[in-house]
Symmetry: C2
Amino acid sequence: MSDKMITLSQNDIPKAWYNVVADMPTIPDPPLNPGTGQPIGPEDLAPLFPMGLILQEVSQDRWTDIPEEILKLYAMWRPSPLFRATRLEEKLGTPAKIYYKYEGGSPAGSHKPNTAVAQAYYNKEEGVRRLATETGAGQWGSALSMACSFFGLECTVYMVKVSYHQKPYRRSMMQAWGGQVIPSPSDQTNAGRGILEKDPDSPGSLGIAISEAVEDAATHDDTKYSLGSVLNHVLMHQTVIGLEVKKQLEIAGDKPSLLIGACGGGSNFAGLVFPFMPEKMAGEDIRFLAVEPTSCPTLTKGKYAYDFGDTAQMTPIIPMYTLGHDFVPPGIHAGGLRYHGEAALVSILHRDGIVDAVAYTQNPVFEAALMFARTEGILAAPESAHAVKAAVDEAVRCKEEGKEEVIVFNLSGHGLLDLTAYDAYLAGELEDYTYPDEKIAESLKNLPQF
Amino acid sequence: MSDKMITLSQNDIPKAWYNVVADMPTIPDPPLNPGTGQPIGPEDLAPLFPMGLILQEVSQDRWTDIPEEILKLYAMWRPSPLFRATRLEEKLGTPAKIYYKYEGGSPAGSHKPNTAVAQAYYNKEEGVRRLATETGAGQWGSALSMACSFFGLECTVYMVKVSYHQKPYRRSMMQAWGGQVIPSPSDQTNAGRGILEKDPDSPGSLGIAISEAVEDAATHDDTKYSLGSVLNHVLMHQTVIGLEVKKQLEIAGDKPSLLIGACGGGSNFAGLVFPFMPEKMAGEDIRFLAVEPTSCPTLTKGKYAYDFGDTAQMTPIIPMYTLGHDFVPPGIHAGGLRYHGEAALVSILHRDGIVDAVAYTQNPVFEAALMFARTEGILAAPESAHAVKAAVDEAVRCKEEGKEEVIVFNLSGHGLLDLTAYDAYLAGELEDYTYPDEKIAESLKNLPQF
């Protein structure tokens, strides 16, 4: 029988991260200081990040060696398996081959630990004692809590208050790994106190939580800030995903025609796709497809412009696809896809026509996820389910066109802590919401001006 | 660096299950018909099980070929990784090597799918349309729901009512895979209605749920019953675990001195340990250690005797270690270890001095599990955490004795759906309960008499 699971051995864990900047046709314009409007330098980032990560953020080198200690930690869940979705192919009757890279086998259940352990390592190296971060649904906060526990760092997670109460299991995970979880807005920061004064019952938001974590790091000498997506160095850490996929497809004897990833901040998408940029640039016929929700259609409906990374306008101004920093996405189940912006690297690749994008409403996404669960077993995270849906649609297209394409998607996490989403779908309670064009136009009026 | 994760390829999935009966010094006496007290034959089991599984239940053959279709499904999560617990070893400062076989990577999060897909296969082969089963915490019910979805079988799960309400995520998993979940006691069976008449607010119990599932199967021609542990064929299906471990230890260049598994019904313990029986019988120095909770101390405090498998006295009478079929274990967090009896095969091996046993209270178990999570990353299921605790204790003993033993334990599942247990531990709310000897003596007075 053909191989269902393509495994690699520990020696096959990539020894270096890949930096797509080395192979892109256009390099993004630099981030700007929100106060001066001038390009930021390393010194602007130093209060928030250790120099090891800042250098990676601005690096144009194609490869960065992965330190031995990080490789040792990667070996706890890497190399991750590449699966052939044979039973899904049969179900669809498609001539396409469908592969999925499964990142849900990490202890935290997603791809997030790939960058969490790297970030914890570089902070530890430079004597940092504590990391502060924000988390919405909790995927990132739990990955960073785990990584900090490995290095003996303290970890403070500002968790959006409504999620803190609605997702007690995610909070438990962080606490089990020793993380301190603070419902945000909190009375620990000026930003939080300001919000609470106006609205003591504020449910919080990712924007507020970011402000609290950034303030915490900026006001404590022994503390730095950590971000789970969007930034160049975060995307680079995730390239171990695609680098492994290359080896695994070689073993399977296949070349990819289409690479698919769900896209929120961009890290799981970039992790799979970026390592194939040299082939794409050399003219090979590979499509890159980013998948997002219609309720937060950054790439499909947003504007490529300089914008703030957060609602409180504290972060650098970044050139990216954005729905406007005032954009408030509705409470869909794919919490990881609710960001108003998009990584600068993914954004410019979309602008340049190298990355395609598609958006779906919730019900078709969960319909596909359920078909996937009943054929392939795995219950996908709501975010990853967007990639499942796109893969199914593309496989159906291949059937209609009689094409034997090789489709690869990133199953970036399992959904075992998001099962209420499946409940809501089965109960017919999910809304198929599309964010209206007028409201996006309204929100885009507030972009920073120069 | 030495290997952290020892992977195998798809070709290494065992092609045959191992039957320990072929190598045991004593074979257990036969199960008895609860009505007649006579040894049961295949015809007694036919209303509940397909003949393919009944033949496995009574088989004395050393090897049973695994059908190709089951191998294909195994490839969805097998071979599972064997990890070297390097960071735990460092933390303990032990000269021992600690390995753990990780079964939590299956889509259902535990080892249970190894037998679930096999049972679904043999039922499907014989034209069965629906399977009925019981579940407590939900591990088994979710594994069987998934397996049934692969074969287009219907699945009815009687779930202990208190768990149905307390563990909504497990219920969601079963429903996502198409399982019908019925809180037990229910009005669907005579057994359930009888209980509800006496106590409309009954929280249910595993004993009641078994009675409902057995009655459902026995009274419907197109329906069979399915059990997730205890029976010979179930333990045999799980031997893929230990057979893979043998290959993986060979790759690592190590021979095991000690094999450890948590023991409820016995299936994850047997799955790891049984394949090493030939070496043990040949005189190699290997210890087999079963771990149980002091609140349900079947092997350490129970009696080897014929007893019923359920409280309602509907199942065959089995020779086993038992605390008495009236035994009501307290509500500890390791729900999978709350069975009053023990697999006949594990029982007689313990009686014959081939399997050792140890019991722990809850707090030391979760203390060890937390140390494990913060060094090795994985949050263990409460059941598996018992094996973690024993491995830690044995590694500490090795340190004291200066011995370089090779300790291997079965990490049979992750605890991502059991995080309230970790919460309770961190909050200091776990009780260190030891079931009193007098109460056990009392419960043992009601063993069936001949």
